[in-house]
Structure formats: C-alpha cells, structure tokens
C-alpha cells in the first residue's frame, strides 16, 4: 500500500511549501478585515515549522525525520527562508530548529485554573517574513519544485513521498500550471507519488462558506478554483481514515484542496502522514 513508509532518520520525508507572494497577498482574507493574507499565511507556516521541530525534538536533540523548504513566488521566485538559512531550499529539521531568523515574544491565553484566562509570554520562532509584491508565477515555482524534488526523491528512494503545499490567492500569471503540476506529481519514491495540495485563499467569499477536501468541481465557485482542484492529489487512504475520525465529510474522491478554509485545518492535516505510528 503506498504512502505508508516508516519515517526515520535513515528514511526521512519532506514538506515543501510553495507560497504565493504576489501583490494581492497584501489584501485582507475574505471575512477577516484588517488581517493581510500574507501575514496570516506567514504566521501559519512559521507555526507549522515550530510544531514540526517540537515533534522531532527528543532527549538528545532534534531527529532529522523531515526535510523542509519554503519557496516564495511573486516578484521573485526562490527559497523564502531568512537569516542563516537564506537561499537554501530543503533543510533538515535539526537545522531549521537551530536557525530561526529571530525568536519573537508573543502572548497567548492560558487557563488560570479558576475559570478564567491569563496572558502568558511565549517564544515564537520566525523563519521568514510576509512578502507581497509582483505577479503570480506559479508555473515557474512548480518548475523549481520539480528540480528540487527530483533530486530529493533520487536520494531518498524509499522515503514517504514529499508533500507539496501550494498556498495561493490568485491565478497563475505565467501560463496554465496544469502540466507543471502533473510533472511534479509524476515524481515518486518506492512508497508512492509526490502529493500536491492546494490552499486557495480568495479575497471573494464563497456564498456557501469554506470548502475542505473537495471531491468534485461542481461545488467550486469559478474556473480558477476548478483548475486548482484538478491539480490537487487525492487524499491517501490513511488521510481519508484520519479525516473521517476527525469528523470531516470526505469520500474516496476527496482531494487535498481547500477553498477559503482556515489554514490551521489544512496544516493540522499534514500531521496525518507523520503520526507516531509512522515515526521512528
């Protein structure tokens, strides 16, 4: 059965984010006035990286169960990490842990033990900042991802296949990305093909609300949404089972495509392939 490989230091897997950094990412997300899409996405991915580091942190240090990368695409296309990791595409998670660009101090609400909430200061690592400038060269970034993951899959032939998460708010400005997406999804390890998931953040609200893990084009509001849906990989069997356990309405045709959904929902979902049963 594909997409079941054990994830270990000897047999790692990887996550690659493709992050739309076009000018329109400076707009507010539908229904969330005042919060720029670019800021929200940067927060969510930085939080994901933080959680992934914590997942891999053990007594002796951070185990390299994952390699992680973030490619931005807007006025420029390429690695988005800042600081010491600047210019690097896929980075072992132990190095991600060691080299955040900065550690911010933020506050979070915690239970005060008496029915109320109090503020607690927490360290929030930041690996890259929000950027919003230029067009949406999706074909170009998919091409870069293809080169990076061709190399990775050839070096990690028995690994759990890479998961690519494309987060975008607009239409590709350098052509139809379908063939570039197909080439990326054709890459494989012995455990299955690369998975491409798309998170679509429109500035226009969908009349029927967010869509999570759509199973057909019919419910999608426009041609661009339908294109991104067709580019998206079906959820694996383990992911479908997990989604059902968590109460999502999924069917065997459900794909890794979300429209206007809470990004935390998508990001949490990436936990599926990396649950304790798979980690060694």
């Amino acid at each position: 059965m594909p997409h079941t490989a054990e994830i270990s230091r000897a047999n790692p897997t990887c996550f690659l984010f493709l992050l739309d950094q076009s000018g329109s990412m400076a707009e507010a997300l539908a229904g969330e006035a005042g919060k720029r899409k670019a800021d929200k996405v940067a927060d969510v991915i930085n939080k994901f990286l933080q959680n992934l580091v914590l997942k891999c942190s053990k007594n002796e240090g951070v185990r390299n169960w994952f390699h992680v990368g973030v490619l931005g695409y807007g006025a420029n296309v390429g690695p988005a990490f800042g600081g010491s990791l600047g210019g690097r595409d896929l980075v072992p998670i132990s190095e991600v842990a060691s080299y955040p660009m900065r550690l911010e101090e933020r506050t979070k609400k915690i239970d005060d033990g008496a029915g109320g909430l109090v503020d607690q200061k927490v360290k929030f690592p930041v690996w890259f900042d929000a950027v919003s400038n230029g067009g949406t060269p999706m074909c170009q970034v998919l091409g870069q991802a293809l080169n990076i993951l061709s190399d990775w899959t050839s070096k990690n032939q028995t690994g759990f296949p890479p998961i690519v998460i494309n987060i975008t708010d607009g239409e590709s400005t350098d052509g139809d990305p379908t063939s570039a997406a197909d080439a990326l999804k054709a890459l494989a390890t012995t455990d299955g093909n690369v998975l491409l998931f798309n998170a679509h953040l429109s500035s226009n609200a969908n009349s029927s609300g967010p869509i999570l893990f759509a199973s057909s084009e019919e419910s999608l509001p426009d041609d661009h949404a339908k294109l991104l849906f067709r580019m998206s990989s079906p959820l694996t069997e383990n992911m479908l089972n997990y989604a059902k356990q968590e109460g999502f309405n999924v069917t065997p045709g459900s794909r890794g495509y979300v429209f206007q959904a809470d990004l935390h929902g998508l990001i949490n979902f990436l936990d599926v392939g990396t649950r304790p049963g798979n980690l060694r």
């Binding site: 942190s57 927490v122 690592p125 304790p276 060694r280």
Partner: protein
Amino acid sequence: MRLRAGVASRAKRGNSVEEYEDAFFPPEFLTELELPFACAVADGATESSFSGLWAKLLTEAYTQATDLTHLQQLVDSARGHWHEKTSSQSLPWYAEQKLEKGAYATLLGVTIDKAEFPSHLKWEALAVGDSCLFHVRNHEAVATFPIKSAEELTARPMLLPSIGHETKDTSLYQMGQGILETGDRLYLVTDAIAGWIFTSLDRSEKPLDVLDQIVRTGTAECFHELVERLWDQNRLKNDDCTVLWIDVVGNPM
C-alpha cells in the same frame, strides 16, 4: 508455589540502546521471589521527550504502591522527579517548549499474591494504554488484559502524562485479575509484541510457543534474533520491544 521472573528487551531498529523508551521493573532476571510480588512494563511515547525516563519512573511507582490511591500519589511524586531530572537552565527554545508539553507513557503493572483458597495464587493487574498481559496455561492464552485483539491496538492509546496532577477520576486506570496455578506463566509485553502475538494467534500460529523457547534459553541474543527475524518478515512493528515473564513453579509457598 514459587515464582521466577525474567525480562528481554530490544530498542527499535535504527535506534541505539540509549534511545530505548520502554521500561520494566524489576530490572533483571529473578528467582525465589517473595509474595506479594509486583512488576510492571511501560511504553514511552515516541513523540514526547524524555519519555523513557517517565516510563521508568512509572514502573517504579507501580511496584511501590499498595493500592490505586497510593499509586496516584506516587505518580504525582514521579512527575516531580521527572521535572527535576529534565529541567536545566540553558535549554534551546525547542527543548524548553518540548518539556512544557511533558512526556507520555503507557503503564501495565501486575501484583501476584496468595489467593483466598489454598494452593493457588492470584494476579491483579492495572493498565493505562495498550501494553498487554497474557496469562498462559498449557500453551494457551487463557486471559489477556486489557487488550483483547489486534484491532484494539491503535496509534493513539491512552497515556499517562508527566505534567498536571492526578485527580479523583480513576477511569483512566483499567483493572483486571485472575487465578494462577502451578505451571502458569504471565507475559507483560509492550504493544509491538502484543500485536505480533494477536495477529499470529489469528493465523492459528503458535507465538506463545516461540516465546517459550526464548524463556527457556534465557538469553537476550535469542530474543534479539527473534525480533530481527520478525522485522525482516514485516511481521512485527518496528518499535521498542519488551517481554517480562513470571513463571509459577514448584510447591506452595
């Protein structure tokens, strides 16, 4: 009747001995045990840090406890010990945040004592999570606790945390008991071995006879060979493996 106990363990493939995160108590092969005799195994969760230490503290707590209330007090004390041993002034940000999340482990403890009627012993067991006891008589499993089948072994077992405090709610703890006769054996195993035993029994194989050979040889090498062979055959989950056994032998104590 007399009791003899022994134990065999193996760290998951790809990990060093130091990275073994199961735990067991008593720590070595024992003969001529006194009643009541208490022993335990625990399985530290892969995703938590210092879970092997937490598992070890839990097994020690169980073997010192006189009842569930006492155990809960000892588990709370163990939380303090875990915190003392893992805290340091200069941890990197991720180690600091990981420790705040605590460590997690299963616990399976068994106490053997005289039964209410002559010439028999009884076992009483306590479990949190999916470490499992097999009560074997004449090569057959006459009881298992708390897991009854391979289907019950999920990736998300109940676990005891090293943070927080015990409450009056004891529903996390499952209880079981049984009567022992001369010649009986109890196995306390962590989930990977339990999974292999259940699936092998489902296939009408004789995993308990295979384990019996390990007990008879009494060598760690034989257990390691078995585990390696089962891993090679994809018959056993790549996880830390622990088997603790207690034999009821000889005349009444």
